[in-house]
């Protein structure tokens, strides 16, 4: 994720669409991917991403540079994605749709690799689907986005021990799921 200069942020806050597009290009990848993993469908990820950047556009004037823009966007994106996931949490069996029209990097036109990739994505979707949105967010931020415990705590505005607790419970849940699957296979 590239850094955005203060002058671009100021111009974007004054309504310069070109500058705002630079901010979008810098952060949309993270926002979309984290939304996809937490909200669990491309349609929901698009909705969350759109809302994140519309909020950002409207609120950019109030950004006081007390924290980095990246941290601020992280917080908006993750919290919106969690809230969105909670609203649709009744649909527990939804799986991330593997859509060939949305490319996955790196892309090589090898049938075997594409099948492996599809299976891998389905596994990830199934694992994340077994968690509640709060646990899912912690696993996504830690294991997919590589944030430290402190960064996760700042992003979610929670205590660092709460991060630990949610990670622990998420992993315990996944271990239970694994035991259930293995029991079914016997």
């Amino acid at each position: 994720m590239q850094d955005i200069g203060e002058d671009i942020i100021i111009r974007a806050s004054e309504g310069d669409v070109g500058s705002f597009e630079k901010i979008y290009r810098a952060y949309s990848g993270f926002v979309y991917n984290v939304s996809l993993r937490i909200a669990r469908s491309h349609r929901d990820a698009e909705e969350v991403t759109q809302n994140v950047f519309l909020i950002l556009y409207r609120k950019l004037k109030s950004f006081r540079f007390r924290s980095s823009l990246k941290t601020w966007i992280y917080r908006i994106a993750v919290n919106l994605a969690i809230n969105h996931a909670k609203k649709v949490s009744k649909e527990r069996d939804r799986v991330v749709e593997y859509d060939d029209s949305i490319g996955i990097e790196p892309s090589r036109d090898v049938i075997g690799e594409n099948l492996d990739r599809e299976q891998k994505e389905k596994t990830i979707a199934r694992l994340l689907g077994a968690l509640n949105p709060d646990q899912r967010a912690c696993i996504v931020l830690r294991n997919i986005n590589g944030l430290s415990y402190e960064e996760i705590a700042q992003t979610l505005n929670i205590n660092i021990n709460t991060v630990r607790t949610r990670l622990k419970r998420a992993r315990e849940r996944l271990l239970t799921l694994r035991r259930e699957v293995m029991a079914d296979e016997l």
Binding site: G15, V17, F20, E21, Y24, S28, G29, Y32, N33, L36, R37, E46, T49, Q50, N51, F53, L54, I55, Y57, R58, R75, I76, N79, L80, I82, N83, I102, G103, I104, E105, R117, K120, E121, T123, I124, L127, I139, V140, R142, N143, I144, S148, Y149, L156, N157, R164, L167, K168, A170, R171, E172, L174, L175, L177, R178
Partner: protein, 167 residues
């Protein structure tokens, strides 16, 4: 340290590398001696850590930027075309609205006052008080319990709980 403590560390800090060298060695020594903890570490790593390490990055659809850009330009057009657009919003910023906590306290005080008045029969107008209470409750209906905000895209909970307004 007993197995329960090691278990918590294995499920979190140890597997995430968020651990001092000294504590890491302590855990590794325990794993050499404890079959159950060794099994737990291996199963957790395989089930709950490694699958996510291989997650691919999904490309953002280009149409998303076009939609956002269209919304932004629409908003700019509305502001430029209508000199009064946003005026209400600017006026609102000049007027101090009570924060939810303050309004909640106000509602509580109103209710307590009404109870005291009716109980001690200071004013024998129960129906008038009930009407007044209902009016106050309705006027406070816009407040959200958990400190979210309204935007044109709907209600957005930015994770700010009511307790944060009290801090």
């Amino acid at each position: 340290m007993n197995c329960e403590k090691f278990r918590d560390i294995i499920l979190t800090d140890y597997l995430d590398g968020n651990i001092s060298m000294e504590r890491k060695i302590e855990v590794q020594e325990h794993l050499k001696q404890c079959f159950e903890c060794r099994e737990l570490e291996a199963a957790t790593r395989k089930t709950a850590v490694e699958p996510f390490n291989l997650a691919d990055k999904v490309v953002v659809p280009e149409s998303l930027w076009q939609n956002i850009k269209a919304d932004i330009e629409q908003e700019q057009y509305q502001v430029v075309g209508n000199p009064f657009a946003g005026l209400l919003g600017r006026l609102k910023n000049l007027i101090i609205f009570p924060k939810p906590a303050f309004a909640l306290a106000s509602a509580t005080a109103i209710i307590i006052a009404a109870v005291i008045i009716t109980r001690f029969n200071f004013v024998n107008q129960e129906s008038a008080i009930n009407d007044y209470l209902e009016e106050q409750v309705n006027s406070l209906a816009y407040l959200e319990e958990d400190g979210g905000v309204y935007s044109d895209t709907g209600y957005l909970d930015l994770g700010t709980g009511i307790e944060e307004f009290l801090l």
